[in-house]
């Protein structure tokens, strides 16, 4: 089903610790529709994984399963070694309480295709909300962190602006800052530039790129193939709910082993 990753994984990372994210045999049904058909993936700490594939291939669904915006029908997803969504007791799985799921989600930051900023709050308000309400941080301290997050995405001067006053690219950068303020161990990007005008894509990709080079563990679902080649440590091609192949991005893009991958890359017009 999956190609065994032949990429050398000899980064000097802490080999004793578990991978940041693992998925084993993940299946997902929407009613009768079989969206994920046994996905096995692994993301090491500080690794950047990009997932490409045609729409409907299940890549976004997989990402949403990782932080349990969707439940899975079969398989296991672990983040930092911790089983997502269930507790395992005496060989049986128990549904987690909403509170525990919320706690698990705090380990991950998520950035959506449609930004999903809170329209009734300013950029600063959006970024401060979770530290203040979820982490119960003092307002002054939260504001300090929020402002430095906004500065990190180059929007220090837009703290007081409402989302409707910002361009799409700026909104998405605020959304990234909002996720970063919670200090996540892994960032999940769900087609972060797909809703943007072409001339605004670059500024968002730059932010993600600098985040990658700072050592953040990331899973990026994207259509930007040249970006994926530059940034990814591991590139995954998904189609029809399956991982068709994965490995070193340059290797995969220049030398796809599967016919399906070749078709997709040809249609996508990869340079």
């Amino acid at each position: 089903m999956t190609e065994s990753p032949t990429t050398e994984r000899d980064d000097q990372g802490p080999t004793a610790t578990a991978p940041m994210v693992t998925a084993e045999g993940v299946h997902k049904f929407y009613g009768d529709h079989h969206v994920l058909k046994g996905v096995d993936l692994e993301v090491e700490r500080q690794e950047v994984m990009c997932i490409i594939g045609p729409s409907g291939s299940g890549k976004s669904t997989f990402l949403r399963c990782v932080n349990r915006l969707e439940t899975i029908t079969a398989g296991r997803i672990r983040v930092g070694g911790e089983l997502i969504g269930y507790r395992e007791k005496n060989g049986r799985l128990h549904d987690m309480r909403a509170k525990e799921i919320a706690r698990q989600r705090r380990r991950m930051g998520m950035v959506f295709q449609s930004f999903n900023l809170f329209p009734n709050m300013t950029a600063l308000g959006n970024v401060m909300e979770a530290p203040v309400r979820v982490k119960k941080m003092a307002r002054a301290r939260a504001e300090e962190i929020a402002r430095s997050s906004l500065a990190q995405v180059g929007l220090a001067d837009k703290a007081g602006a409402y989302p409707s006053q910002l361009s799409g690219g700026q909104q998405q950068r605020v959304a990234i800052a909002r996720a970063l303020t919670m200090n996540p161990e892994v960032m999940l990007f769900d087609e972060p530039t797909s809703a943007l005008d072409p001339e605004l894509v670059g500024e968002v990709l730059d932010v993600i790129r600098s985040l990658a080079s700072s050592g953040m563990t990331m899973i990026v679902v994207t259509h930007e193939i040249s970006f994926a080649r530059d940034v990814a440590d591991q590139l995954v091609f998904m189609d029809a709910g399956l991982v068709v192949e994965r490995g070193d991005p340059r290797e995969l893009l220049s030398n796809p082993r599967h016919e399906r991958t070749r078709q997709f890359l040809a249609a996508a017009g990869t340079p």
């Binding site: 989600r105 999903n116 979820v134 409402y162 909002r178």
Partner: protein, 294 residues
């Protein structure tokens, strides 16, 4: 392309250069004027016939407008509308949240509540609450189906006419308000909930901080509608001698026989307060539209 004016092409997009603003003759809307004239004529006739009516004495209306009993009635109307508006909104919020919750018991109970209190005419509800003591002489909180009472009081000592009216109006209001608020909650895009959840917010926080505040904006117009209806519906309390505005004017008319004049007194006051509420709605809408326009 081959035109000789190549020099001017470089100016494309520049704001300078002479131009002549369009001075167009507007379309003449003769039909509109004709209809306006007819409407104005009939309106004038109506006003004149009411103003010249010989059985109507405007002096009486004016004299009773600030009559002590009327002012007292206004106070009660005000208190009832305010108290039932708040309790009704509270009930409505709980009903709406319960209806959208994952808990089947809450969904069933809230569904039953809406069905029942939207179905019972407010007039019946007011009469039943006003005569509750006939049904139950004492009110108590006890272990179900036993004589072990935790709390026991005489009905009439707690359920005064005002309290009975307040409860009746609130129960009724809550049923409608529940649907109004549910409409607002459902209207908040799903992505907002997901963004909040992905930040690790609990369900309660998501509702309080993200969904409810955003639903407010769309809920204000129908909610204002409900408040205005409630203000006028409080007049039904006159059937249990609630002492509010409508009760006051009907009381007065039984002694002075000026039925229409007294109703006009009430009408003028209701119109005045509805105008205030409408103004309040506009202020609230402006405040809540923060962040929604460029």
């Amino acid at each position: 392309m081959t035109s000789p004016t190549t020099a001017t092409q470089t100016e494309t997009g520049s704001p300078s250069g002479a131009f002549e603003p369009i001075k167009a003759v507007p379309v003449r809307k003769y039909g509109q004027w004709a209809i306006a004239a007819i409407v104005a004529l009939y309106a004038a006739q109506l006003i004149v016939s009411v103003a010249r009516n010989e059985t109507l004495e405007y002096g009486v209306v004016w004299r009773y407008l600030f009559h002590e009993q009327v002012l007292k009635g206004i106070l009660v109307t005000f208190e009832l509308t305010f108290a039932a508006g708040i309790l009704g909104t509270l009930i409505g919020t709980l009903v709406a949240v319960a209806k959208l919750s994952g808990n089947p018991i809450l969904r069933a109970v809230s569904g039953f509540y809406t069905w029942f209190f939207r179905g019972v005419p407010l007039l019946s509800l007011v009469l039943i609450m006003g005569n509750f003591a006939i049904l139950f002489s004492h009110l108590s909180i006890s272990l179900p189906f036993t004589d072990v009472d935790f709390l026991r009081v005489e009905t009439n000592s707690v359920l005064t006419i005002f309290v009975a009216a307040w409860i009746a109006l609130s129960l009724h209001e809550g049923a409608y308000m529940g649907e109004v608020i549910r409409g607002g909650l459902v209207g908040v895009p799903q992505g907002q909930r997901e963004a909040a959840q992905s930040l690790g917010m609990s369900d309660g926080l998501v509702m309080r901080r993200v969904i409810l505040p955003q639903s407010l904006r769309t809920v204000v117009p129908p909610m204002s509608n409900r408040f205005i209806i409630l203000l006028k519906e409080s007049s039904l309390v006159s059937v249990i001698a609630g002492g509010e505005l409508m009760n006051a004017v009907t009381d007065l008319s039984t002694s002075n026989y000026r039925v229409i004049e007294m109703l006009m007194v009430a009408t003028l006051w209701y119109l005045f307060f509805v105008s205030l509420l409408t103004f309040g709605q506009r202020v609230l809408e402006r405040r809540l539209s923060r962040g929604y326009s460029r």
